[in-house]
């Protein structure tokens, strides 16, 4: 059952998943979203592809967080939320009320702006996901923990203190721990909401490198305020403004030759 698999440097993808880059994992069709009376997203149409890093940029309050939280339906934690339209995850409409969110969230992991480890040991933080999904075997858990921590490039830093409280780690380490926690349930997609905005430059760099690494195995959607970051790490970039997608294209194109005047204004720092 346990087969030694890919180390950090292999480029082979996870076994068991079809790899045909360019295939859409998320197709958003005419998505509208309201918080109570206020509309936060308007007519979003966006296809997100497998094994790519998609960056979402835009000024504060434009709906970036709202959008990616819709992709794993975390947005529903706000009781007043209403949506219309469709989001297809590998062909199934996740907004349909019969769709099981817990299932979705097992496949679509999320990393938050502020590192939010549980107040447990490092080991328990990672093992939490597998455990709730029914994996109880200690040996398997041990391996998952190691693999996930390695995958998040933090294994060497924590391997001697796996049973210490996660709050003893630095902010940057905590964030990579949260990424590792996400990897432990082997999601298909990873959503990241400004994952480096609470981190210092060196930690930021590490997380960015990690994202580059992870993209081989996962589809990644990352919200960022930092234009340079988007340019550095993403394959595609979507520019949001006032709850709408103004432009969505190859990152290179967005930053060198934006089609829309507003995109240009934003990336050249004229507002936002």
């Amino acid at each position: 059952m346990i087969t030694a698999t890919l180390g950090k440097n292999t480029t082979v993808s996870h076994s068991g998943r079809q790899v045909s880059s360019g295939q859409p994992v998320f197709q958003t069709k005419d998505l509208n979203l309201w918080y109570g009376e206020g509309q936060a997203l308007t007519n979003i149409n966006l296809n997100i592809n497998e094994n790519e890093v998609t960056a979402i940029i835009g000024p504060s309050g434009c709906g970036k967080s709202t959008y990616i939280k819709t992709l794993n339906r975390m947005v529903e934690l706000v009781p007043t939320v209403r949506t219309s339209g469709e989001i297809l995850y590998r062909g199934n409409n996740i907004l349909h009320k019969d769709f099981k969110v817990e299932d979705l969230r097992t496949k679509v992991g999320m990393v938050f702006q502020k590192p939010n480890p549980f107040p447990k040991s490092i080991y328990e933080n990672i093992a939490y996901g597998p455990k709730i999904h029914g994996i109880r075997n200690k040996r398997i858990l041990d391996e998952i923990v190691e693999q996930s921590l390695r995958g998040a490039a933090i294994w060497d830093e924590v391997k001697d203190r796996l049973h210490q409280n996660a709050y003893g780690l630095s902010g940057g380490q905590q964030q990579r721990l949260c990424i590792a926690r996400c990897l432990a349930i082997e999601p298909d997609v990873i959503l990241m909401d400004e994952p480096t905005s609470a981190l210092d430059p060196i930690s930021t760099l590490k997380v960015e490198e990690l994202v580059q690494e992870l993209k081989k195995d996962f589809s990644i959607i990352i919200v960022t305020h930092n234009m340079q970051q988007a340019a550095r790490i993403s394959d595609k970039t979507a520019f949001f403004l006032n709850g709408e997608v103004v432009e969505f294209a190859e990152t290179g194109k967005i930053f060198s030759n934006p089609a829309d005047k507003r995109t240009e204004d934003y990336i050249t720092g004229r507002f936002g």
Binding site: I2, T3, A4, T5, H14, S15, G16, K100, E102, D103, T106, K107, P130, I132, H133, G134, I135, I140, E143, I144, Q147, A184, I185, E186
Partner: protein
């Protein structure tokens, strides 16, 4: 290689969601349990008291004959008790709160007094009864009169008033104090003219809650000694007295002898609960009305 078998996860999801829904029902039922008990309790008391609450019951003195028995004496006793507890807790509670918040230097002494107060809040009420019996009834030789009961009760509810007053005083913004000092006011003038008026609603809320606690307490008064039969109305703080909860106690105990005493106890409970609900509503109204004025 995959450790997490998605198919397996999906298969188990149903059970997990079922467990969640089941748990939710259980949690809801738990919450409703307390409420159901409250409903049963009120229903029982109300139906037992049916027909027993009328003008005579409120205005008659105590009697051994159920049909003639009234709670005027207990009402008088409760009022007189409050006449001692209200000013005593007001002075002691607010004074202590002012000292701790405005005068005491943050340090060992202050935190000692603070810890002491929170421990006092946890001392069982019978122990206060013993203190009252030993100090007020016996050593000061007051006898089991209103004053002795009132002082005992004041010490018992003191922590409630202190903590509420401290919170109220702490909520007075520093800039109001600065404004007063800036006019050349002394510390006491500032406290008296600015801090206390601004924190008064919070203090009053605390005092009312403390009084409603005192009105319902039975054990300390039973311990300091209240006669089983006392008919005349108390006319001052040096008179013997009985109060509503003690009356309930005796009638409940004696209900085995005279069945109607259970009805009298229930009727007295209804009156007591009405008084308490009214007091708590007033406290809530004061709190809501004067909240957030700065």
């Amino acid at each position: 290689m995959k450790y997490v078998d998605q198919a397996q996860v999906t298969k188990k999801m149903g059970t997990r969601l079922f467990a969640n829904n089941l748990a939710k029902m259980l949690f809801l039922l738990s919450t409703l349990f307390g409420i159901a008990v409250l409903a049963v309790l009120i229903y029982r008391v109300a139906s037992d008291s049916m027909g027993w609450i009328n003008k005579d019951f409120l205005l008659n003195k105590l009697s051994t004959v159920p049909e003639r028995a009234g709670i005027l004496g207990a009402i008088y006793g409760t009022l007189w008790l409050m006449a001692v507890v209200a000013p005593a807790t007001m002075i002691l509670g607010v004074g202590t709160a002012i000292y701790l918040e405005e005068y005491a230097k943050k340090g060992k002494l202050q935190s000692f007094i603070q810890t002491n107060i929170s421990n006092l809040a946890g001392v069982p009420s019978v122990v206060f009864g013993i203190l009252g019996l030993t100090v007020f009834v016996r050593a000061l030789d007051l006898g089991s009169v209103v004053l002795a009961g009132g002082l005992t009760m004041s010490l018992l509810v003191l922590p409630v008033v202190v903590v509420a007053s401290q919170e109220a005083i702490r909520a007075v913004p520093q800039f109001l104090r600065e404004a007063s000092y800036g006019m050349g006011a002394t510390k006491w003038q500032t406290i008296k003219n600015v801090v206390l008026p601004a924190s008064l609603p919070g203090i009053l809320t605390g005092v009312i809650l403390a009084l409603s606690r005192a009105i319902g307490e039975t054990a300390p008064l039973v311990v300091i000694g209240i006669p089983a039969l006392l008919i005349p109305l108390p006319n001052g703080i040096l008179d013997k007295f009985t109060v509503l909860p003690v009356q309930i106690y005796y009638w409940t105990v004696d209900s085995a002898l005279v069945a109607e005493y259970a009805n009298l106890a229930a009727a007295t409970i209804v009156i007591l609960l009405i008084v308490l609900f009214a007091m708590n509503s007033i406290a809530i109204i004061i709190r809501n009305k004067f909240q957030k004025r700065f």
